[in-house]
């Protein structure tokens, strides 16, 4: 049953149909949750007792940073599937996820920098957390560049997948950097084993916007995968059917 589904999902026409059906169910909650999370973070959450209103930047920064790691991990898992089973849909996921992940990483770095100026007194320090996150951005850009540089689409996808897998060692380094090294970046607030060290009215908008970002990724990666698969399979019957009947 599961294997059959896995095989069906691996077929581009079936994937296209599924992705088109799922899109609105992901897009609408993604936009609503992100918008509500931002709104509640800016309006309803109380100012932080140490950081004042500057802490509101976390409603962008933290979801972007979480997603930068989640997307990379998902991309590396897809890369393994792409290399082992030669699944076209998994190859498309690797290529589709990279620019979205890069944009979230960029957003995390920029908003962190904007927050750092008033709070730490500097835009940037070569701290373990910041440096490893910057390396993550370069890994995403490397995956994109490698895919672009190779003419033949399937070898391009395989090369990109290999780099994605090698780079995954950076993910735990980023996550644990605040514990392994004495960083200027603060330690975890939400994902601690005991209760989170944050007020509920501050936490809820954060979790909602993080969920919004996750759904946004799910929606947009499917759209990008459709573009990749349609381009690659141009001329085949299912693509022609789609052209006549979009």
């Amino acid at each position: 049953m599961l294997m059959r589904w896995f095989h069906q999902l691996g077929s581009p026409p079936y994937f296209q149909m599924l992705a088109r059906r799922l899109s609105p169910w992901l897009a609408v909650p993604a936009v609503l949750l992100t918008a509500w999370g931002f709104y509640a973070g800016l309006v309803h959450a109380p100012p932080d007792y140490q950081q004042g209103d500057a802490f509101r930047i976390i409603y962008v920064h933290v979801p972007a940073a979480w997603l930068s790691l989640f997307v990379y991990t998902a991309m590396a898992v897809a890369a393994v599937i792409a290399l082992v089973w030669r699944m076209k849909v998994a190859e498309a996921f690797v290529i589709a996820a990279a620019p979205i992940g890069a944009s979230f990483t960029f957003l995390a770095l920029v908003t962190g920098s904007i927050w750092g100026k008033p709070m730490w007194g500097t835009w940037w320090v070569w701290d373990a957390r910041l440096t490893s996150e910057l390396i993550l951005l370069f890994l995403y850009l490397g995956v994109m560049a490698l895919e672009n540089a190779i003419e033949e689409p399937r070898s391009a996808a395989r090369a990109a997948s290999l780099l994605a897998i090698v780079g995954v060692v950076n993910v735990p380094i980023i996550h644990y950097s605040v514990e392994w090294w004495n960083t200027l970046h603060q330690g975890p607030t939400v994902t601690r084993f005991d209760a989170p060290a944050i007020e509920w009215s501050m936490l809820l908008p954060l979790l909602v916007s993080a969920l919004g970002f996750t759904l946004l990724f799910a929606w947009l990666v499917l759209v990008r995968m459709r573009v990749i698969l349609l381009r690659r399979e141009a001329g085949s019957r299912w693509v022609r059917e789609w052209l006549q009947n979009p």
Partner: protein
């Protein structure tokens, strides 16, 4: 209201962060659909030439 806009003196930092976020998220949402549309147009033209 003007109190809220001033963000306790951190207005420039808070609003620029949310501004960058809006740009990045909107770009993410618009660009794949632009590509999908361009691809459809290109494939249709190729179809007609054949």
């Amino acid at each position: 209201m003007s109190d809220w806009w001033s963000m306790g003196g951190y207005a420039a930092y808070v609003w620029s962060s949310f501004g960058v976020a809006a740009v990045v998220l909107v770009w993410n949402m618009v660009w794949p659909y632009v590509q999908l549309r361009q691809l459809r147009r290109r494939l249709r033209q190729e179809e007609e030439q054949v």
